[in-house]
Amino acid sequence: MSQERTAPGATGAFVEDPEAPEYSAYGGDWSEIADEAARLGQQRIVVNMGPQHPSTHGVLRVMLEIEGETVTETRAGIGYLHTGIEKNMEYRTWTQGVTFCTRMDYVASMSQEAVYCLGIEKLLGITDEVPERANVLRVLMLELTRIGSHLVAIGTGGNEMGATTVMTTAFIGREDTFRVIEMITGLRTNNAYIRPGGVSQDTPEGAVEYIRQMIPKVRQKLDELVDLQLQNPIFKLRLQGVANLDLAGCMALGITGPILRSAGLPYDVRKAEPYCGYETYDFQVPTSTESDAYSRVVLRLEECYESLKIVEQCADRLDQTVGQPVMVADKKIAWPAQLSLGADGQGNSLEHIRHIMGESMESLIHHFKLVTEGFKVPAGQVYQAIEGPKGLLGVHLVSDGGTKPWRAHFRDPGFNNLQALSILTEGGQVADVVVAIATIDMVLGGVDR
């Protein structure tokens, strides 16, 4: 360990002055503590917000140095949700990795699955062989996830400012997207649905109809959120001109996603570098030049409407591609069986079990080899990026030619964007810190991985 500087301790103040008095804020009245500080002539107060705090979107520690109600310095402390997912993925097959990376940003599970599988497909050189229907299903899932993620951002953001109705409305809308996702994948979140080469199963009976029924319901909830928030004077006073970050700041800090687009740059990976056939869908990339917290709420709502437009187009394409495969034809890569729903829950289809257990020894060997050993991926490295709900989500994959990743590194947009918390909050009010956290919209599961 050749670390030269002595890092600040995990607990205690982060100031270097050992003489600085500490105040404990448990069980007391804040005004008493402030009075005590004033009596001692101490101007500088460091407040810990979190790690366990209802408005930190997970387990985030925010260290605030305040003067009265003004924040003079902000630091974010992360790592409380680090679970070593990247390291774990090096010990599982390429296919099993999907179940790990889906748990990073658990509010937008599908994004990690998609970027990871696109990366594997690039390594394998089979990007163009993924069937059209699989791509349509991926786009459908990605857009439903985007709506869900934005609704969480808007809903929890509202809740943190005391508007519980915003949260309940948003979560009802999100639940409608989950119903479709659950019907198709079998799970609400952490789906492990997108697999290398395609998706784990085709749509069940009546799925397209169900999607079409869902669209107006979600649109209604979006309308309600628009009516509830955007002209509300309290909401506007609370968000307009707060947490500003102009384009120069965004570029310096590598910000992507709604925050970058709120500063006026229409950068969206779906348009700039289309994947899964996004170039064939009709949708807009909303932007704004206000670069404040309010404009980001507006952008997220607009993006949800655009996503619904894409979902509609996906429904049409699902109708047109009925019966087409949802997994690559190469049997050395494709998972041997599609999942199906039986009396005892979801699993390999009965026909497949009958086939491998009763009819064909070769199929059993093939199944066994592919499921336990996995497929080999030629040595090399790739970088794949997609537009996650929160910004540019990237994955750096290295293969050593084996059945497991040599290295899988995810660039979670929240990890990068959280760096902006200091610049968004310093010089502002303490109460606006909550607004800034909500406007970054990171999920600590993704930040810490």
Binding site: G79, Y383, G401, R407, R411
Partner: protein
């Protein structure tokens, strides 16, 4: 000037100080046996397979790659030979292996030149190749140009015994946390970083968990009398 040098040769070019006379390629791993377990009776146990990254590419690189490398070489002038160790084009992606002494200058050119204009660095990903003697730790920087809608990769390799890479936060402030993460997980010291503290692991953690020699951890689990080893100790296919 681009034709006056042998970027892709196997040892003939001057190369960076670390590259020396060695082959311009990354050795990912040396795999022994076929099934990951020692002492099986199949005879395959004795197989030794070196696994390498795709090696240095010859010109023309294709797409926009030649132009970008030309511009960079022109900007670097006489330092180009030493700075760019070798170039790899694989799977439609451009990788520039850069000597660490020249990393910051290369980054400045990548960001500032109007024909390159890589405004964003998408972080740094560490990779550990224990078999690649003298170049065990790699820092991999994906660069994103929004202006030209291009992406390239900068790769810097250092010795495990001397894991120092200059910080590029002076050029790309966005890399602040990313470099802290790579220090935390791989022990690459980014010289000149404003505050290179651990970010994911606790401050007093010992070791760098994502290095290959760091165990995954986990405990064996007993199930119906049989013991199932932890994931990294299981017999596994490689």
């Amino acid at each position: 000037m681009s034709d006056s040098q042998d970027l892709t040769g196997t040892g003939a070019a001057k190369g960076g100080p670390q590259m020396g006379d060695r082959e311009r390629i990354t050795l990912i791993n040396v795999r022994e046996g076929m099934f990951g377990a020692k002492g099986d009776t199949s005879g395959y146990d004795l197989l030794v397979t070196p696994v390498q990254m795709p090696g240095a590419s010859e010109r023309p690189y294709g797409e926009w790659f030649d132009g970008a490398v030309n511009v960079l070489e022109e900007l670097l002038g006489e330092r180009a030979d030493a700075a760019i160790e070798y170039v790899v084009v694989d799977r439609g992606e451009l990788t520039l292996h850069i000597a660490r002494e020249h990393l910051v200058e290369v980054c400045e050119h990548l960001r500032d030149d109007q024909d390159l204009r890589f405004e964003m660095c998408l972080g740094v990903s560490g990779v550990h190749y224990p078999a690649d003697a003298g170049r065990e730790l790699h820092a991999v920087y994906p660069m994103q140009s929004i202006t030209h809608n291009r992406r390239l990769r900068i790769e810097v390799a250092v010795d495990e015994a001397d894991p120092h890479v200059p910080s590029i936060t002076s050029v790309y402030p966005m890399n602040n946390w990313h470099e802290r993460e790579t220090w935390d997980f791989f022990g690459i010291v980014f010289d000149g970083h404003p505050s290179l503290a651990r970010i994911e692991m606790p401050d007093d953690w010992v070791g760098h968990p994502q290095r290959k020699d760091y165990p995954l951890g986990g405990i064996p689990v007993e199930y119906k009398g049989a013991e199932i080893p932890s994931p990294d100790n299981r017999r596994q296919y490689r």
